[in-house]
């Protein structure tokens, strides 16, 4: 007698791989297209060329948009991870009656549609002159990335025994020294990975950027939006390929940090 073939599992497997193909194919399809010699985005791509990449790197406008996004994302990562970590630490180790307010402040930016925040900020920043400025973008993106920083840091800090700091202080350390010398090193990998995630969220953020961008100060997503909306040039697959590579790098970085982490 033979073990029966497990039709149920085979069917489930087939279905799952079909869905995974649906998820992943649209993402990877841009890679061959970015090397296509066709000037229009037909399928299948033909030939091999790097001209779309050089078009991207040679364009002053694309370079300016990228540079703006890089600056905004770096500052956002810095701001969000510092502010978010400080707040999380205070919530976990402090005497605070603000738990509910804190939770609402975290869930709000996730739940409230980005279009609502974008429109609100557009109006507000216009009146105070922050629209289209780096501080404006950074402030907006910090709000959007804080929840992710806090969730990551809460998980990490929650695993660090509060008695470790008490022990350090009983050895004569001040509270700040105890944090800096005991807790911080333990959560540093998580802090770094939350900064990575804040960077990529900001770098890829399209909606708020769309409304806050001015005529001259355009982030990369805003430039891409215009390009896709208006003429869909083959530069887009090249940029998309680069952005996917960036996401892979960020995820790899986070993965490495996670495997390094003591507080996994």
């Amino acid at each position: 007698m033979k073990p029966p073939t497990d039709r149920g599992s085979l069917a489930l497997g087939a279905y799952v791989y079909a869905v995974l193909a649906f998820i992943i194919v649209p993402l990877v399809i841009v890679i061959p297209m970015s090397f296509s010699q066709n000037d229009y985005l037909a399928f299948p791509p033909s030939g091999f060329t790097l001209k779309w990449y050089s078009e991207y790197f040679d364009s002053r406008q694309w370079r300016a948009a990228t540079w703006l996004s890089v600056q905004v994302a770096l500052l956002t990562a810095l701001f969000a991870s510092v502010i978010g970590t400080a707040a999380t630490y205070a919530m976990i180790r402090g005497h605070s009656r603000l738990v509910t307010a804190f939770q609402i402040a975290l869930i709000g930016p996730i739940i409230v549609p980005h279009i609502a925040l974008a429109v609100g900020l557009y109006l507000f920043f216009q009146t105070i002159g922050l629209s289209g400025t780096i501080p404006g973008f950074v402030l907006a993106h910090t709000v959007l990335t804080l929840p992710f920083v806090v969730f990551t840091m809460a998980a990490a800090l929650g695993k660090v025994d509060a008695n470790l700091e008490a022990a350090a202080m009983s050895c004569g350390a001040t509270r700040f020294q105890a944090f800096r010398l005991v807790t911080l090193p333990l959560v540093l990998p998580s802090l770094a990975s939350s900064a990575l995630f804040a960077f990529i969220i900001s770098f890829d953020e399209p909606v708020v950027s769309f409304f806050l961008s001015g005529v001259r100060q355009k982030t990369l997503p805003r430039r891409m939006f215009e390009d896709i909306e208006q003429n869909l040039t083959p530069v887009i697959p090249a940029i998309a390929t680069l952005l996917i590579m960036l996401s892979i790098l960020i995820l790899l970085g986070a993965h490495v940090l996670r495997s390094r982490s003591v507080t996994r």
């Binding site: 007698m1 033979k2 073990p3 029966p4």
Partner: protein, 391 residues
């Protein structure tokens, strides 16, 4: 091969429906089924988890699978339950080949290590679950589930949720759930290891009682040898996926079939020896130069002149003092431990081999102190001889 081949059951409401399982009549006294596991092999890639296992289990027998971690106990049980299909070999229950029958059509009872009560159902619904799967009406289901709860002395707990019961109670519910449809075989994978010691002993008795009452065939996996020795009719000792010995507790303890079982079950002293001659008796040379003549029956495995062998003796068989009934050894004591019922003496033979003795009711001997040299007699019939070297 259909389920119809098996007799003795009444049909549930959904008789004849594909996939439904039949249940044994409540009126007919349920009794155990015989199980035959033949040449069972299971490989996970390069690992041979089960390696040619044969076990014949009589109807109504209580058998324990005992072995160190990774010896393949769970894998055997999973194959019987139908969660793993073996690489080769067969499993028959009452001469019906179940090797590749899906578990939901095997009609076996099973108790898991961590209770596995469904957390979203009440206790009663948990116990009634297998009856529901068999298409019984709600009223009938509940009546039978109540009765099963009563058998495990949890009548009246039906409306509670699993997390409102203690570990021991949860495991009793799991037991009720496993027997409510009167399966003829009950499988248990370390069912008591999550309980603390006192509860464990209560549950051991509970399971023994149910086994006697229901006459069900039980396969019980454990790595606790005292549990296996006290509960099972027979014990199968496993190591690296192979059966080392199957037999009743007394046989396993008093005449282990090989060095592994000898060392695995209970405490045992081992001394490396060399076989000098084999005749009406066996002459062995001890490390310190003496030669002993042992009766031929001492050799559990055939002794061969000139080969290395191991002499084994249980600590409680050593007698303090010199007597003509056996061989005398001189032991330099290193520890004297008062252990309640017995005095545990630990020391070394002249060649350095460690030797332990348990002397019952010997607290008056507390004049012994570490450093003393004590003489012990090993009764001739207490000596067992195995081939090979001690590890």
């Amino acid at each position: 091969m259909g389920l119809g081949a098996r007799g003795r059951r009444i049909e549930g409401k959904t008789e004849g429906k594909r996939g439904s399982v039949n249940i044994v009549s409540a009126r007919q006294s349920a009794s155990g089924a015989s199980i035959r596991i033949s040449r069972l092999e299971k490989r996970f890639g390069a690992v041979s988890a089960v390696d040619g296992v044969d076990i014949d289990i009589a109807a109504g027998e209580f058998i324990a699978l005992l072995g160190p971690s990774g010896s393949g106990k769970t894998t055997i049980l999973m194959s019987v339950a139908g969660f793993e299909f073996p690489t080769s070999g067969t499993i028959h229950v009452d001469s019906e080949d179940l090797t590749y029958v899906p578990s939901n059509r095997r009609n076996l009872g099973m108790v898991f290590q961590n209770y596995t009560l469904f957390p979203h159902m009440s206790i009663l619904d948990n116990v009634a679950f297998p009856l529901k799967m068999r298409g019984l009406r709600t009223a009938e289901r509940h009546a039978r589930a109540e009765a099963a709860l009563a058998t495990v002395r949890l009548a009246g707990y039906g409306h509670r949720r699993p997390n409102e019961l203690s570990g021991g109670q949860q495991q009793r519910v799991a037991l009720a759930r496993a027997i409510v449809y009167q399966p003829r075989v009950l499988l248990m994978d370390e069912p008591l290891s999550a309980l603390d010691k006192n509860l464990r002993e209560d549950m051991q008795l509970e399971i023994k009682r149910l086994h006697a009452e229901l006459g069900i065939t039980v396969i019980f996996v454990t790595h606790d040898q005292s549990e296996a020795l006290t509960m099972a009719d027979r014990i199968a000792v496993l190591r690296d996926g192979k059966i080392q010995q199957i037999g009743p507790a007394r046989q396993l303890y008093e005449r282990p079939a090989n060095l592994f079982t000898a060392g695995f079950i209970g405490e045992m002293n081992f001394v490396d020896v060399r076989v000098e001659s084999v005749g009406d008796d066996v002459a062995v040379a001890l490390p310190w130069g003496e030669t002993w003549r042992l009766p031929a029956t001492a050799a559990v495995e055939p002794a061969v002149a000139g080969e290395a062998a191991v002499l084994a003796v249980r600590p409680e068989r050593l007698q303090l003092g010199v007597s003509p009934a056996g061989q005398v050894i001189a032991v330099t004591l290193s520890d004297v431990v008062y252990a309640g019922a017995a005095l545990l003496l630990i020391g070394h033979l002249p060649d350095g081999t460690e030797m332990r003795a348990r002397i019952p009711g010997a607290s008056q001997l507390s004049s012994l102190v570490p450093g003393d040299v004590a003489s012990f007699t090993i009764p001739t019939e207490a000596m067992l001889l195995y081939r090979g070297k001690r590890r």
